[in-house]
Subunit: 166 residues, 4 copies
């Protein structure tokens, strides 16, 4: 059975959804992995038991959206402590530079580490002036450079999952 | 009209509620201030327009509880940007040392700063081996030293509100 | 004697220095305050005893520069616990979007809260697509919008210091 | 050649050193790995190129010690971006509960993620009332339960390194 990567996102304006689609493309690029994309309303706790997990949230006050937080609060029994060594990362879209997209990523990474995932960011630049050291970020409607960053995040997690869990 | 301090908390096991009660006592100690204590289920957006605001959350994955996050996400129009110069801080109860009570405080402080509050922690020790540099914390059933810390946090915000907003 | 605001920064490429100059202009705009701008190499612990304090650091790994950290580690006796109610904030310049400028601000705010300052960010937008919820940030050579944000941060702290400490 | 785990720490009072020794014991427990323990004054950039890396810092203002920050700031060329998929975590000792040991861990994890490591914490309890969701923490002189947590952190990273890099 192929290893699985699940992308779960929340989105209000569509910007985080747009990022999610590009992360999905990047994860599919690597091949021989089962890649699933879900809005949080459609996700179940079992989705957390994927070898790779990517969580995307809009930036609201520098903290993961309440819907996603509710999802994790209600699924601790399903997945907490059962995902040791699985790989995870995050992405977030904010209304402005300095508006909390990085801080939102920290809140997501905190949740993921609590569950037991190994988490990572991108040390490299996806495009000039755009990196993603805590996962992928964008400001408003994601531009081409920010979408490259999302794509790279998807590629990277797929490479890790293939390397460690195939 | 007296300046007002509102304490809003969420609690599952009762530990954060116990902390809230002690913060309430500390805030009342200073005098000539209107101190209000509310569970998040009873709070309204207008409560955010208090000269002093203290938010208490259980520690779940190092992030404010989803109920409190929902409360802030839904009340941005009521209070965002209207509380400049108002004073705020936080408290949290965790199941274990190293279990995320400080990290949960950071998520609360992030929300409070986004709204426009001035936020603070305690530089001093409330008791030997117990301080509260990001607000008050406790591990499980709060002990006497942790309750002193909660009380001190209440005193401190009341002093600030009296000094700056009376 | 006029209340004092001190801006202390570190800078490698000149980008954080450029931000510092603009914060300085903003702080001067308000008037009747003593505004001082210093590189960390020229600063002393006594500078921390200012009614307003703004710390600027380049973004290196999402954490305040080692020179600034050394400065704070060595001056705890001078100022720790003596600045209760004083106002502080931060700014940082990174090499890329998503490169840690917000996370660097969190590390600075942590230090400032530990010392006892009240810390704040900007709830408002300085320009379209540019805010500063944890202090001011810029990516590489700060552009006009990012400099407006720095200026606004300077204005805001000056307003707070004048309101609370004059 | 055996995979290598390097523990690098800074310590003023000896408490973080005591933690480091216990992490070292835990890492050695797993076997068939090369485990190295170094004070930051003795460490070189090449030590960062280990399949497992654990960084320990005293808690000063909720941020990694300036010596360790200087070490990382000066070794970006040696290791940045060359450690993708390597595993890392952290530990910290504070003077008080609520005094910033978790927040210090976040600053270390930020640096490690920037370099490219996969980082993790402990989802499980090392002892009643003691976990380590962001790495290991202790308050003052580490007690038996906190030392168990350090040991468990060492065991866990050794298990990950053996599983993924042998």
């Amino acid at each position: 059975m192929m290893a699985k990567i699940t992308i779960i996102y929340d989105s209000i304006t569509g910007n985080t959804k747009r990022m999610a689609e590009e992360v999905y493309k990047g994860a599919n690029h690597v091949g021989e992995l089962d890649i699933v994309l879900k809005h949080v309303d459609e996700a179940s706790g079992l989705d957390l038991l994927s070898e790779g997990l990517i969580i995307g949230s809009p930036t609201h006050c520098g903290v993961i959206s309440w819907k996603l937080k509710k999802f994790f609060d209600e699924n601790t029994r399903v997945a907490w402590g059962k995902v040791g060594g699985y790989i995870a990362t995050a992405f977030s879209s904010s209304g402005g530079l300095g508006g909390g997209n990085e801080v939102t990523l920290l809140s997501i990474l905190s949740i993921l580490m609590n569950y037991g995932y190994l988490v990572f960011g991108l040390p490299d630049y996806a495009a000039p002036g755009v990196t993603g050291h805590y996962g992928a970020v964008s400001v408003r409607n994601p531009d081409e450079k920010e979408l490259k960053q999302c794509y790279l995040l998807g590629v990277r997690i797929a490479e890790y999952v293939k390397r460690f869990h195939s």
